[in-house]
Amino acid sequence: MSSSTFAVHCQNVLKVYDTGGQKVTALNGVDLDIAMGELMMLVGPSGCGKTTLISVIAGILDQDSGSCVVFGEDLLNMSSRNKLNFRARNIGFVFQAFNLLPSLSAAENVSVPLIINGMKRSDAERKAISVLEQVGLGARVTALPSELSGGQQQRVAIARALIHSPRLIVCDEPTSSLDHETGRNVMTLLKDVAMHKDRALVIVTHDARIFDFADRIATMDDGHIVEVKTAGILASPASASKACTPDAVEPYNLAPE
């Protein structure tokens, strides 16, 4: 399959951080493909390189070597200006800590990507209200983030990630700050409103309770992709209990039990 048929096609990606003279290899030759219409989860212990990998995929961090082609574009070879425009048009972000702008209302927060893409503020806010209605927050459009519950804030963040119809949505621990039921609701919402045959979702998570939402799960350790499996295998109760341990250092046992 050629790289242009994938949403994301990463080959031999290497990223080394220099932390005060000490070199830390975050990505050590990562190969990963994500297909269009796929929901891929990245799991693994803390420090294994998951966040670095989605930062590279999202075009907010440059790898040292290797290539990462997103929708046919090699981000490393793009100019800064083109990369900004690429991100603004094609990438949606959902964060663990929501990262909503605290002084903006829900509708204003959701409208930000459209404003960045040059839409008039009034039009953007009108569209934001309709997207908020889709995620069940039509009655809270004027609320500030501080006036919303964690689940509601994450819904606002999802609406913000979707409003400009990006082709890749990158989620970092989207359910970690939420209780079980709210987390599952958020994932259901993400899967319902975000999944599309021309769009891909990458979710970094430790939360084994949501593994069953994934199409495939890639397990990382020590800067490598250790294993890529379909969701059903890793989502089994025994594996899930291991994957839930954030600081686990051993690779997960991905073998069927």
Partner: protein
């Protein structure tokens, strides 16, 4: 993105208030202290500016400023009158004499003797009586501040304010009787003594007997005559110093600027205001940016360019700068208005607005540059850090 920048700025009311107050304080100090300084310095030459009619002041060549009296012989007046281009030349006496008050105490007064015939050089505003009343026997005119305070009659009740002198009251000047025929308002000068106006000949009779008693010759140029050219002619013909009114004011101003500690003292105040204002506003604004770094990171990750972020920070800086400057300048103006009847010197020319505006702008640019550098160097990947 401008509305997002403004909402980010105003979202945290406490910090927003802190930044604006820091700039208000800086603006207030950088406007109010120079205003007092300028007011004080204007007093150095206010006696000259109060004398409106003459174009040229003639005096001894060694005089350094208006209160540095080096008397001339009366014959110098006639020499000046003889120079071509002089419309008229009048004598003026200026000296410190002791007045004996009703209660027997003495008060040093600044006595001004005006030409007997024309009374040129008289007080700018008469509050009671007329300037011409100086021609009456033993007549003097006293300034209102002196009449109310230092020359005032003893208070009717112990510890009370003195009873102001009024027209008809009398004083003793160097053992000569003097009757108050008018009360005048004069611009305050550096000297705190009461000001007494009388005729030139009477002033000479009050003054201790000396061969030379003429302080200044006041000269009017003939129509069409260039005053600067005439001053050169007077200097060349008489060997005396001759200055246009503006030159004499400048000479006096420069003397006080270079020979007193006033400029350095006020300069230190203004500098301190600038430094403290820059420290408070700069630090608060920088902290505000640091605390919003994640938000800037989110915007950057979502595709906001550095130029847009730079504009957002500049807008925030301009907004707080304008508010702080406006409040500081407004408070200064209010201060000046409330103090308008007090002894405090205060002068608020439009150039001062530019000066403090430049100061506040510098602080804002300093604060904004610190913040901008931080945001420009920001890695958008910060958004994924916990």
């Amino acid at each position: 993105m401008n509305h997002i920048a403004i909402k980010m700025l105003m979202g945290d009311k406490g910090k927003y208030f802190g930044i604006v107050m820091g700039l208000t304080f800086a603006s207030l100090i950088m406007t109010q202290q120079p205003a007092i300084f300028l007011g004080l310095m204007a007093r150095s030459y206010s006696f000259i500016s109060d004398v409106g009619l003459p174009d040229i002041w003639v005096m001894d060549a060694k005089v350094q400023f208006v209160d540095d009296i080096k008397p001339l012989q009366d014959t110098e007046l006639y020499r000046v009158r003889g120079i071509s281009g002089v419309e008229w030349a009048m004598p003026m006496y200026k000296g410190l004499l002791k007045a004996r008050l009703v209660d027997g105490t003495f008060q040093t007064c600044n006595v001004i003797g005006l030409d007997d015939a024309t009374l040129i050089g008289g007080p700018p505003v008469m509050l009671d009586g007329k300037l011409e009343d100086l021609r009456r026997s033993d007549g003097i005119i006293v300034d209102i501040d002196g009449a109310k305070d230092k020359l005032g009659k003893p208070a009717s009740t112990p510890g009370g304010s003195p009873t102001p002198l009024k027209v008809g009251d009398s004083l003793e000047l160097n053992d000569h009787r003097a009757i108050i025929v008018g009360i005048a308002k004069v611009t305050r000068t550096f000297q705190s003594q009461p000001v007494i106006y009388t005729t030139y000949s009477r002033a000479k009779s009050y003054a201790p007997k000396e061969r030379k008693l003429l302080s200044f010759v006041l000269v009017k140029t003939k129509p069409g005559q260039d005053p600067a050219e005439l001053t050169r002619r007077i200097r060349a013909s008489t060997g005396l110093a001759a200055y246009t009114q503006a030159e004499f004011m400048s000479l006096t101003y420069e003397y006080f600027m270079h020979n007193t500690g006033i400029p350095i003292n006020f300069g230190i105040s203004v500098l301190l205001g600038f430094i403290v204002g820059a420290a408070i506003a700069g630090q608060t604004f920088y902290n505000f940016t640091l605390e919003n770094l994640r938000q800037f990171g989110v915007l950057k990750a979502m595709g906001t360019g550095n130029w847009t972020l730079l504009r957002m920070i500049l807008l925030q800086a301009v907004l707080v700068g304008t508010l702080g400057y406006g409040l500081g300048v407004g408070l200064t103006a209010l201060f000046g208005y409330l103090m308008r009847h007090s002894i405090l010197a205060f002068k608020f020319p439009w150039q001062l607005l530019l000066f403090s505006g430049a100061g506040v702008s510098l602080i804002c640019v300093f604060a904004a540059v610190l913040s901008i550098l931080k945001v420009l160097r920001l890695e958008p990947a910060i958004v994924f850090k916990g």
